[in-house]
């Protein structure tokens, strides 16, 4: 089977040409999972029965040339943050072990309506809090390029599954970089849409004003197909935008000549690994060669982004996670009285990073500290947004590395939470400002570890962003050695 090694859009074309069937693709996917996932541990559970039914139905449609769209029959995986009716959804946490939602997330419903074949639920940092998937209550996921390293996080399972060709595409969520950073770590494409472009209904909340659902695929065209399927207004999510959804793949190949790319000085300073910088600058050259105008810009409030993020996100999270109290679902500790039940349930159910963030967020909102922390952070957030608004008066996209380093070793950053947080330095600003951002592969370092290049665009201008990403992405996609059995 060669088709399953193709990027998502290649698989889609092969399905359309009748070169491969959805059932064959599903088998290949399951086969590869069997071969690799014992070592990679990307999947928390498979939805084999549902997938077979979906593949069979898709097959009928493909045979009669009546596909639902480019995703019809394409195997995909879902971060275990998405509620799927009748399927255990844990959000990477013990507190939701065994929890079975009674409804589908809106994006899950839309993927099903597009004919995608959902293969299983993917590993993640607990409640999406982390940058390495090491905070999963069910063990970490390994980076397909080097099993001693993390695939990034929190959508580490999604990224690893795509890079290892176990699925053609996946959905993740991105609150501070949780799609883009793992995509960079494993060498695939991953996008966070504009805030409100995709419904959050049924995506378990971490930080409501920052969370966005987004696609991962090996190629930008695959990302575009997925985005078209999941984007759009949802009356169940009143933060979602009513703007119409364009066909994101339709303008992908349009020339990028004349588009202006801003390169912010603040993103190329201390802490950036030299090999990463080199690869990203090569990416800049590649765009310049295709006619883009490259401009030096400044985003002066960038140094405050991490601090701002870790107040706003943890404050919202401390509130969003209050519902995990053992009363109506999930884990409940044995206790004789209510207060004890609450405290023990949450102590037993949550991991250390989640507890830390809940504590930090609670503190930032508590009496006497609200003004100094939460309120102030929301003001600095406005300044960060303003920096981008000003930059976008002169450029069409901002370019930077996705992450300051390539994939780090398992356990390397677990002792110092702050060191882990600093991984997000280039990704959190787009969440704070509500802007769309995408990471595309930009080569490898001397250890053969992937490097990601990030592009940030104007609100609701994903078309332009995807176009530039398409121009920046590599022509051919190398699969990690483990895929070929090496």
């Amino acid at each position: 089977m060669k088709a399953d090694l193709l990027p998502l859009s290649g698989i889609s074309d092969a399905l359309a040409a009748g070169e491969v069937s959805p059932e064959a693709l599903l088998e290949a996917s399951l086969e590869r999972i069997r071969a690799l996932d014992a070592r990679l541990r990307a999947f928390l559970r498979l939805t084999e029965a549902e997938a077979r039914t979906a593949a069979k139905a898709s097959s009928q449609r493909r045979k009669s040339k009546k596909p639902l769209g480019p995703l019809d029959g394409v195997p995909v995986g879902l971060k275990d943050i998405f509620c799927m009716e009748g399927v255990e959804t844990t959000c990477g946490s013990k507190i939701l072990r065994g929890y079975v939602p009674p409804y589908d997330a809106t994006v899950v419903r839309k993927l099903k309506q597009a004919g995608a074949v959902i293969v299983g639920k993917l590993n993640m940092d607990e409640f999406a809090m982390g940058s390495s998937t090491e905070n999963s209550a069910f063990g970490p996921t390994m980076n397909p390029w080097d099993l001693s390293r993390t695939p990034g996080g929190s959508s580490g399972g999604s990224a690893a599954a795509v890079a290892a060709r176990m699925v053609a595409g996946a959905l993740g969520t991105d609150t501070g970089g949780s799609i883009r950073q793992p995509a960079a770590m494993v060498g695939c494409a991953g996008m966070k849409p504009t805030y409100g472009r995709v419904s959050r209904f049924g995506a378990i909340a971490f930080a409501s004003s920052l969370d966005q659902v987004g696609p991962l695929a090996q190629d930008v065209r695959g990302v575009a197909y997925l985005l078209s399927a999941i984007a759009g207004h949802d009356p169940n999510d009143q933060t979602s935008s009513p703007r119409p959804v364009p066909d994101y793949a339709a303008t992908l190949d349009k020339s990028v000549r004349g588009l202006r790319i801003g390169v912010p000085a603040e993103y190329f300073g201390e802490g950036l690994a030299p090999e990463v910088e080199k690869a990203v600058r090569a990416g800049v050259d590649k765009l310049r060669a295709q006619g883009c105008e490259i401009r030096e810009i400044s985003l002066p409030n960038s140094p405050h982004a991490i601090a701002t993020y870790y107040i706003v996100a943890t404050a919202e999270a401390s509130s969003n996670l209050a519902r995990y109290d053992g009363v109506r679902y999930g884990h409940r500790a044995k206790a004789n009285q209510l207060l004890e039940m609450y405290e023990k349930t949450r102590a037993e159910g949550f991991g250390a990073e989640v507890k830390r963030r809940i504590m930090l967020g609670t503190y930032a909102l508590s009496a006497g500290y609200y003004d100094a922390y939460y309120l102030r952070a929301q003001k600095v957030r406005a300044l960060i947004r303003r920096d981008f608004d000003q930059a976008f008066a002169a450029v069409d996209a901002v370019l930077s590395p996705t992450s300051p380093t390539t994939a780090f070793r398992l356990g390397e950053k677990m002792d110092d939470p702050l060191a882990m947080y600093l991984n997000d330095v280039y990704t959190v600003p787009a969440n704070l400002a509500g802007l769309p951002g995408i990471s595309v592969p930009a080569g490898f370092d001397s250890k053969s570890l992937p490097i990601g290049l990030q592009l940030i665009g104007k609100p609701f201008e994903e078309e332009t962003l995807l176009r530039i990403a398409r121009a920046a992405e590599p022509a051919a996609q190398r699969a990690p050695p483990i895929v070929e059995g090496r």
């Binding site: 509620c83 009143q238 509130s319 679902y329 609670t362 939460y374």
Partner: protein
């Protein structure tokens, strides 16, 4: 009694459930009394991944209240999370409004007190119900997510009695507006009282105590009276009044301190990120129709000459106001009907004001017949009673029961002459000064007419003929 050296300062907070068909943030029905946990969904259960979707009708009702009470209505208001843990609060936070509520200012007209100022009115969601048992609690989330408005009154009340009057007036106004059913027993209208005392003449406010669990007008008075006395006694004995929340124990008639919940009081309010700021256009505000409030109706009745007592009776029940309106015609006469025949029928359970069997406009038909002399006043009452009971057309009732009376001058005259002719003795006595015999003559004439004479006309005729 030292209490009279002190002035109580009371402000009431009312939580009123809105009469929307669905909950404030989801489509679950709001009907009271359904079996536990049968009116719930992922949103009002606080399931992972659920998000709130604001109900337009809840906002409309808040605007209606704001307009009725003369509040400033904010074109942009903010939702906030009030964070605390309790089994009946599924998300671990209540979506409410904090810094920028939808309405501010305004006042509630209260008979006898002029009007009492409001601080604000804001929208929020109700919590579920926690039923305490021997071994723990049972949690029913049917009520979780029912829309509430919280109406915060300025501390302008100065006695338990006034507080009770304010509450009655506010409740009635909300019923008139059609946004709340005023049911204290079912808990759709709830009240907390903030009570403090200060020495008379003192400008500074005393320490405020919040009273909870007051679910009838009588308990409002009792609880506040007890609390005023308690606070005065404390101050007089040199102790300090502690700022706290106290529960009213309605069996013992006392207020009791709730176990200190100082940690629980840190609600860590912050703007609700799952809802954009609420935008209410000038155009929407202008468009919202506001029904007349009790005071307006009372004023209109007074202007029409209805007595204060009758007006008070009618205004107290908006259904009576509605019947009065539908009767139409002379407002004073209509009022007399409402407090007379209709009230009687109500007392005898012969009418359900929520489901009238008769068209009130037909009352005017009865008046027409009475004014034309076809019906005596007694007969008219009879017809009205039957009308209320059955809804049958007045003309048919009169025919069926043979209630019409003779008023025709010629016919009556003949009878009058006949009575005079056969009662010479009484005629003489009457002419001699026994004017009371008029009743005898009229009675005789009525007998001849089998009770169907128009007594007024007979009276006049006898007087004329006998001089």
């Amino acid at each position: 009694m030292p209490v009279s050296d002190f002035e109580p300062v009371i402000g009431l907070e009312v939580h009123a459930q809105l009469l929307t068909r669905s909950k404030i943030f989801c489509g679950c029905p709001t009907r009271f009394g359904a079996p536990p946990n049968t009116q719930v969904c992922m949103v009002c259960l606080g399931l992972p991944g659920a998000l709130p979707a604001l109900n337009e009708a809840a906002v409309e009702m808040a605007i209606k209240a704001g307009k009725a009470f003369g509040c400033r209505i904010a074109e942009r208001s903010i939702w906030a999370r009030k964070n605390y843990f309790y089994p009946d609060l599924p998300k671990g936070y209540q979506i409410s409004q904090y810094e920028l509520p939808i309405c501010s200012g305004g006042a509630v007209p209260v008979p006898g007190l002029g009007s009492i100022g409001l601080t604000r009115i804001h929208l929020e969601e109700d919590a579920g119900k926690n039923i305490h048992t021997e071994s723990g609690s049972k949690v029913d989330l049917n009520r979780s997510g029912v829309p509430l408005i919280e109406i915060v009154g300025e501390p302008e009340l100065r006695s338990a009695e006034d507080a009770s009057e304010y509450l009655k007036a506010l409740r009635l106004a909300l019923i008139y507006l059609g946004i709340n059913d005023g049911n204290l027993e079912e808990g759709s209208f709830r009240c907390d009282a903030n009570v403090s005392v200060r020495r008379k003449g003192e400008k500074k406010l005393g320490t405020r105590v919040e009273l909870k669990n007051i679910n009838s007008f009588r308990f409002v008075r009792q609880a506040i009276e007890f609390e005023i006395a308690r606070q005065v006694e404390a101050i007089e004995s040199g102790a300090k009044v502690v700022q706290e929340t106290r529960l009213f124990d309605n069996e013992k008639g006392v207020t009791r301190s709730m176990r200190s919940k100082e940690e629980a009081n840190d609600y860590r309010y912050f703007p609700e990120p799952d809802l954009p700021p609420l935008r209410v256009s000038r155009e929407w505000i202008d468009r919202v129709a506001v029904p007349r409030l009790p005071r307006q109706v009372a004023d209109e009745l007074a202007a029409a000459g209805v007595s204060q007592a009758d007006a008070r009776t009618i205004v107290a029940d908006p259904r009576l106001v509605e019947v009065h309106r539908r009767v139409g015609g002379d407002p004073k006469r209509a009022a007399l009907f409402v407090v007379g025949e209709l009230a009687r029928a109500v007392n005898e359970n012969e009418v359900d004001l929520d489901e009238l069997k008769f068209d009130p406009a037909l009352v005017r038909e009865v008046w027409k017949l009475q004014d034309a002399g076809t019906l005596s006043s007694t007969a008219a009452k009879d017809v009205l009673a039957e009308l209320i009971r059955s809804g049958e057309a007045p003309q048919r009732i009169v025919e069926r029961k043979g209630l019409s009376q003779v008023s025709d001058a010629g016919a009556l005259e003949a009878v009058v002459d006949a009575v005079i002719a056969r009662s010479p003795g009484e005629v003489e006595k009457y002419k001699g000064g026994k004017t009371a015999l008029l009743g005898f003559f009229v009675g005789q004439a009525m007998k001849d007419l089998k009770g169907k004479g128009n007594p007024g006309a007979l009276n006049a005729l006898f007087k004329k003929k006998l001089g």
